[in-house]
Amino acid sequence: MSPDPAAHHHPALAHHFADLEQQKEAAALGMWLFLVTEVLFFGGLFTVYSVYRSWYPEAFAAASHEMVVWAGTTNTVVLITSSLTMALAVRAAQVGERRVVMWFLAATMLLGLAFLGIKAFEYYTEFAEHHVPGPGFAFEPAYARHAQIFFSLYFVMTGLHALHMLIGLGLMAVMFHWVWRGTITREYSSPIEISGLYWHFVDIVWIFLFPLLYLIGRHAH
């Protein structure tokens, strides 16, 4: 009698995959397909932004001047650094260094929280300066109407980005727990890898948001 085939299986290998390698590729591919929908989701907003900016370039430049540039720049550096710690966490998972993975995941989460903290400070500043679109909106009269469009887009795009950051933080918390309880091993690191893909994607969205929202016509003043 032949031995039970399941005995040769890695416990993390789902039965519908031929081997761990195939399972890993399928997981990454599935995440990438999801990210395509995300690219087009944010892509729609970037398209709207481009249309309005091409219509009202002066108002957009004037509104962009009101952004807290140091905060945006700091946040860019914070996010890029979090992408580095994320990449190093994935690498540590691939080589099976459990404690290192946990350290880098913790660092990634801390940087993510720092980003959201700085973002919250910016929202607070903008609220205080009456730059939130609506009846309380105040801006130099010549540009007020169209600056409001800029700020609407700013809040929707960065808000949606922040929501993605929150989801990413939740994912990282789950990953941290999975590493801690030993679900993630050298052979089975897919969950961390595809969570990493998500985190890097959110970083890429910010890479585009930063120059488009904060740096329009900076040379003018």
Partner: protein
């Protein structure tokens, strides 16, 4: 996504390039280059995104199927932008009346 484990050095190098590019984006915004300001900002952003995708997201070492999906996302985004601007940028072109 085969077991291609990159040396730590690769990640640090990419990180350094990303920081350098951020500094560049920030600096270039203070020069008056006219329409080229936007072009420069976007070119740097595209370059940054590309190295994140290739190295941090390991696409450089991924299967051809993954490549198709990644290129597909950019291609469809291109369609979205191209067809939209095909309309908006040409509305002022009066060839009649």
């Amino acid at each position: 996504m085969s077991d291609h484990i990159l040396p730590k050095r690769t990640y640090y190098t990419i990180y350094a390039i990303l920081l350098l590019c951020t500094y560049l984006t920030w600096q270039v915004a203070f020069f008056d280059l006219g329409a080229l300001n936007t072009v420069a900002a976007l070119a740097i952003a595209v370059f940054k995104a590309a190295i994140v995708v290739l190295f941090f997201m390991h696409v450089k070492y991924s299967t051809r199927l993954t490549w198709i999906v990644v290129v597909g996302s950019v291609f469809w985004l291109g369609i979205l932008l191209a067809l939209t601007f095909n309309d908006y940028l040409t509305r002022g072109w009066r060839t009649y009346g």
